[in-house]
Amino acid sequence: MSVSPPDAAAGPSRGRRAASPVRLLAGAVGTVLAASFVIFSSLSVAPGDPVSQILGQKATDAQRAAMRTQLGLDDPLLVRYWHWLTGVVHGDFGTSLTYRQSVSGLLGPRILTTLALVVMSAVIILLVGVALGAFGGTSQRWRPVVNGVVGFGVAIPGFVAASVLISIFAVKLGWFPTYGAGSGFVDRIWHLTLPAVALSLGWTAYVAQMTAAAVKEEASREHVMTATGRGLPRQLVFRRHIMRNASIPVLTASGLTVAGLVAGSVVIESAFAVDGIGSLLIKSVSNKDYSVVTAISLLIVIVFVLVTTVIDFAQAALDPRLRDGGKV
């Protein structure tokens, strides 16, 4: 998905058949392999000359030819792909031409930064999104207000949110730093607060939308009316009868969100100059440093596929009808 939250109908198709674990896993591995081949082969025709980047302009033709052989550039695409893939399986993503360093060494600390950003955003999204949605779904009076706020929220792209937050909270009020990721635990959280808010804004609204719709639908069902009619406390009806059933669409929306956050971090990290894998991806595209681009793209796809597969498993676990292979 994109930085923009998908609409209600979007997202990977939620299987209506029973989710067989083996099938799901095979599907996930197949998808990652297919995506990795597309990424690798398309970048292999991208402009740029790694030999000149390594040797400089003054190298002789013999040196160039030797380097081409050493890098395996003259091998057929499938051979190069196979070499790259076997390397990746052993944790070797190649060498960065710009940083003259192994890609895995380059990614290591940056993955932690991106992870911190994504986790902070996910916490904001789940807390605020689900609470806002549950509130909007149950309260008749506040529903239009919540719908309005949420409809506005999904329309704010991350990079616009970033500019607004920087101008208010960093420049005008001076509460938060403008750029960078900080060092040390507290400093890092302080630095990543604005980026996390910018990243989570649209998705919070999306999760709130899904939650409100699910809660509203469940609240109007017969078993809830029966429970209310039996005089059960409202709290109990809400927790046991509404939220438990509403949790499945909410979980699906939240999972898609987490997957989308990793892709969204590409934009947000660039906007706040946070040194994570997202901003590294953009820098590497400009530097034509394709081994880094390939590695980060693959990582993002793996996270995306992993999360959607976990949602499929979790749905089966939460909904016995899916687990037993019955009709929905």
Binding site: M1, V3, F152, V266, V267, V285
Partner: protein, 283 residues
């Protein structure tokens, strides 16, 4: 857009009340589209004209929204920038809706292996985030207007295809299709004259919602420096250009371009969603 709004409100009138929300936001959409078409003509100053003597100025009589760090008139750039900001998502939506609808109707008509195969391909396509595809396209084809447009046109196909497919499958089972078949009409004719015509409102609703998302994604690639290149005017690029001015407290460029993006996305989303709930489209 305006015909859609008209059709929608006329349908409302028949049932009694006019949908005021659609009327208001449909009008906003109409104005924004007019701005994209005629914006460059309305610009009070040439959008790329720099003025060393009047850089980073606040709003004044001569420059209603002030000037940027190169002394260019911000209002003129916003008006002129509407064209590229809308052209990109416009192409994306038209291409993806056309391809998605064609694939969906073909799959629904033929069923069997074609339907299953399409479903599998769409699932793989869903697994790759749109912004990543746009970034990779910029790496392969070079940064510029066309790389993200091409990439996002591809990325948006599954979102259209999925909704249209389920609608087309419903149509396929209708008695009128059988009647057409018995009357000896060709598959092509039934699909284009009857099924396409019946799922068309759903395609339009999806396209309207998709336009907002496409505008955000397209703007994001320009913001990242991989889409529309300076000195062209485009809203996502203007948000990015204005970042260095933010630190000096000059907020107009980033925030006005950002506000226009949000206004556009909100308006198109609301019209698209009303449209889609009106015709009862579901995934």
């Amino acid at each position: 857009m305006s015909t859609l709004t008209a059709r929608l409100s006329s349908r409302r009138t028949r049932t009694g009340s006019v949908d005021k929300v659609v009327l208001v936001f449909g009008t906003v959409c109409g104005f924004l589209i007019l701005m994209a078409v005629f914006g460059p003509l309305l610009a009070p100053h040439p959008p790329s004209q720099t003025d060393i003597l009047a850089t980073s100025q606040g709003p004044s009589g001569q420059h209603l929204l002030g000037t940027d760090s190169l002394g260019r008139d911000i209002l003129s750039r916003l008006l002129a920038g509407a064209r590229l900001s809308f052209l990109g998502p416009g192409i994306i939506v038209v291409v993806s809706a056309t391809a998605g609808t064609a694939l969906a109707i073909a799959a629904a008509w033929h069923g069997g292996w074609l339907d299953r195969g399409l479903n599998r391909v769409l699932n793989v396509m869903f697994a790759v985030p749109g912004i990543l595809v746009a970034v990779l396209a910029a790496a392969v084809f070079g940064a510029g207007f066309w790389a993200p447009v091409l990439a996002l046109s591809l990325v948006y196909i599954p979102y259209v295809a999925r909704v249209v497919r389920s609608a087309a499958v419903r149509e396929r089972r209708m008695p009128y299709v059988e009647a057409c078949e018995l009357a000896g009409l060709s598959a092509w004719r039934i699909c284009t004259r009857h099924i396409l015509r019946n799922v068309f409102p759903i395609v339009m609703a999806q396209a309207t919602i998709g336009f907002g998302s496409a505008l955000m994604d397209f703007g994001a690639t320009s913001f990242l420096g991989l889409g529309v290149q300076p000195p062209s005017a485009e809203w996502g690029l203007m948000v990015s250009d204005g970042r260095s001015e933010l630190l000096d407290g000059a907020l107009q460029q980033s925030l006005s371009a950002g506000a226009l993006i949000v206004l556009t996305v909100v308006s198109f989303n609301i019209v698209g969603e009303r449209l889609s709930s009106r015709i009862g489209a579901s995934g």
